[in-house]
């Protein structure tokens, strides 16, 4: 079904969504625009290109308590933290980022062991995708065309939203999405003209050009293994890397985490939190040995994990071309350029 609401009535839609449960939506702050749990409907903005941080934190928070404990005289008292499965909606996810959820699902749900923390939040959350502005140029860092995504692809979203002539048009893409739309009294039914406008926007989105290259999953996966020992290449393309974690933390498909017990006086929690393969201590072993002491080795791991090992293990590249890692890199390293160059070796 297709529904619509005037853009100047947008806060009514936000209010209606808030009544259903948790709502994550883009909010402008001094850190740029990012997804936040909404308290005040007026905080939500539709005026952004893409968020600085990816939407992954909705399902995979940067830090999450797994167990909380209190240290008693004889034995510690520990309680697992109940899984969060309140109904939630995430509003305003760009098409390339929507695809990142499917890639993350393969790891968190399809690897033989189901990750309950990811699953509970993913299962209870409805995704409202939001088309890029199809009349504007893509950011120069973006390369999502490489993976066949358009600027207004509705696939993967439960509900997909576009802007057209002062209205927001919302189409249900899944049963869950249809159900959500049906429950929102503030929406009007779309007519044939709206249907046409929606379809035309999707089509126009296909014509928005990002950087793009022919990258075949299997071929690049093999190529990267073949050139693994080409130290000269890896050192050349990573010479600027300063080994911070910005690229992995803003990435929608980086899922590595660390687990640590953090105690203050007698109380604490076992937490899991994002880790980055670019950090010096990522592979540091208890013995003191570090198999990847050098920056080029760690950046190579990042590229190979995304474009090679992930293909072998889960059947797809773990990158959606959103351009965040490139925009956030303090030294302007361009993973797209590196992978293209590797492909030519």
């Amino acid at each position: 079904m297709l529904k619509k609401i005037a853009i100047d009535q947008f806060s009514e839609l936000v209010k209606a969504l808030l009544e259903q449960g948790l709502l994550y939506a883009p909010v402008k702050g001094t850190d740029g625009v990012n997804f936040r749990a909404i308290q005040n409907p007026a905080d939500v903005t539709l005026d952004y290109y893409n968020t600085v941080l990816s939407p992954k934190a909705v399902f995979f928070p940067q830090s999450e308590d797994l167990i909380r404990y209190r240290i008693k005289k004889d034995t510690p008292e520990a309680q697992p933290v109940p899984l969060e499965n309140r109904p939630a909606v995430i509003l305003g996810v760009r098409p390339c980022d929507v695809r990142s959820f499917e890639i993350m699902d393969r790891h968190f749900l399809g690897a033989g062991v189901i990750d309950p923390y990811w699953k509970s939040k993913r299962d209870s959350t409805t995704v409202i995708g939001f088309a890029f502005d199809v009349n504007a140029a893509a950011d120069p860092a973006d390369f999502y065309n490489t993976f066949g995504y358009g600027a207004a692809d509705p696939e993967g979203s439960d509900v997909f939203m576009i802007r057209a002539d002062g209205n927001l048009l919302l189409r249900g893409m899944t049963d869950r999405g249809e159900k959500l739309l049906a429950s929102l009294g503030c929406l009007q039914a779309g007519d044939a003209r709206d249907e046409k406008a929606f379809d035309e926007t999707v089509k126009k989105g296909k014509a928005v050009r990002t950087r793009s290259a022919e990258i075949n999953d299997k071929e690049i996966a093999k190529k990267l293994v073949d050139i693994f020992d080409n130290g000269e290449f890896w050192q050349k393309v990573t010479m600027a890397c300063i080994a911070c974690g910005a690229c992995t933390f803003v990435c929608p498909t980086c899922y590595c985490f660390d687990i640590s017990d953090e105690t203050l006086f007698k109380e604490g929690a076992r937490k899991r939190f994002w880790d980055a393969c670019t950090f010096t201590d990522f592979t540091l072993e208890a013995s003191g040995h570090n198999p990847r002491p050098r920056i080029f080795q760690r950046y190579r791991q990042k590229v190979c994990h995304k474009y090679s090992y992930h293909v072998d293990k889960y059947g797809c590249i773990s990158c959606v071309g959103c351009g965040r890692c490139i925009r956030s890199c303090p030294v302007n390293i361009d993973i797209f350029g590196i992978v293209v160059e590797a492909g030519k070796l």
């Binding site: 950087r211 600027a240 080994a243 911070c244 910005a246 933390f249 950090f279 010096t280 302007n332």
Partner: protein, 288 residues
């Protein structure tokens, strides 16, 4: 205004001749990135590499940051703008880099731009040094007559706040921190290996991004850079979530300058303020 093209031409010419003659084995400068706004720090190792070098208003990175990667005795030419040159001086003062190993390619540069915002980088986010404080070869004409305010003017607003308001300001800013450590990694003076934040025995701060751990990280870093921060502003530009770290660094730098009469990295003959004792040093910090 800065003649970027001329500087780029000179940079290539000097890099080529230094590498050809064997006077240096490395030239630390910039190469083109995926577009003009995104140049990349680059290490030229052979004369042929010199043709890849670029210089434009987006070459904001502090190349002194890469100096401590190489063992002493490595002959390096390094391209430095005003604040970057102060980092070189400070590193020499601290014994991390030897003056004799370096050929300093000075770049007088005004009108550098923040690639994210397009704003001209002025004394607000970086220091007032437009001309390098030290150089062997100057790649452009020194710039005079550009009115540079005090690098500390920007502090007025923060200094006008009472203690509680300042605390609230920083607490809010640190809540944004994602602990990617881009700030310390972009910093030319953050060369500790390992950084105290990476130590596990003892662990000085939570590894997860909790408020306490984040505060511990930033405050320790701020104070460890007291009298050492050369005000290049790279930490703030590196930050993906735009925490104005430069404000804290400037505040500490200002206090150091007032108390000890020297700014970091201005004079190769100076000793680092925190590693030096003079009879007339201020004892202001012991009062009140």
């Amino acid at each position: 205004m800065t003649a970027f093209k001329k500087i780029e031409d000179n940079l290539r010419k000097e890099a080529k001749s230094l590498l050809e003659s064997g006077k240096v084995t490395l030239v630390l400068a910039y190469a083109g990135g995926f577009d003009e706004k995104h140049p990349v720090p680059y290490v030229a190792k052979a004369a042929a590499d010199a043709d890849r070098l670029v210089f434009n208003e987006y070459c904001t990175h502090n190349m002194a940051r890469y100096l401590t990667r190489y063992p002493k005795g490595t002959r390096i030419a390094v391209a430095v703008k005003g604040a970057d040159s102060r980092a070189v001086v400070q590193l020499i003062q601290e014994g991390k880099v030897r003056r004799d190993d370096l050929v300093i390619l000075g770049i007088p540069a005004a009108g550098m731009k923040n690639q994210k915002t397009g704003e001209i980088i002025d004394t607000r986010t970086t220091g007032s040094a437009i001309n390098p404080v030290i150089h062997d070869i100057l790649l452009g004409d020194e710039i005079h007559g550009v009115k540079a305010g005090s690098p500390y003017d920007v502090l007025a607003e923060l200094e006008g706040m009472d203690k509680d308001a300042r605390w609230a300001f920083w607490k809010k800013e640190f809540e944004k921190c994602i602990r990617c450590y881009a700030c310390r990694k972009a910093c030319p003076m953050c060369y500790c290996d390992p950084c105290f934040m990476d130590a596990s025995r003892p662990r000085w701060a939570d590894k997860s991004p909790t408020g306490d751990g984040t505060l511990m990280y930033h405050l320790t870093r701020f104070y460890h850079l007291a009298g050492r921060c050369i005000d290049c502003g790279e930490c703030s530009r590196a930050c993906p979530v735009d925490i104005p770290l430069y404000l804290f660094h400037k505040e500490v730098a200002k206090e150091c300058e007032v108390m000890f009469g020297q700014a970091a990295g201005m004079n190769i003959e100076d000793k680092p303020a925190m590693a030096n004792y003079k009879g007339e040093d201020s004892d202001q910090m012991l009062g009140s």
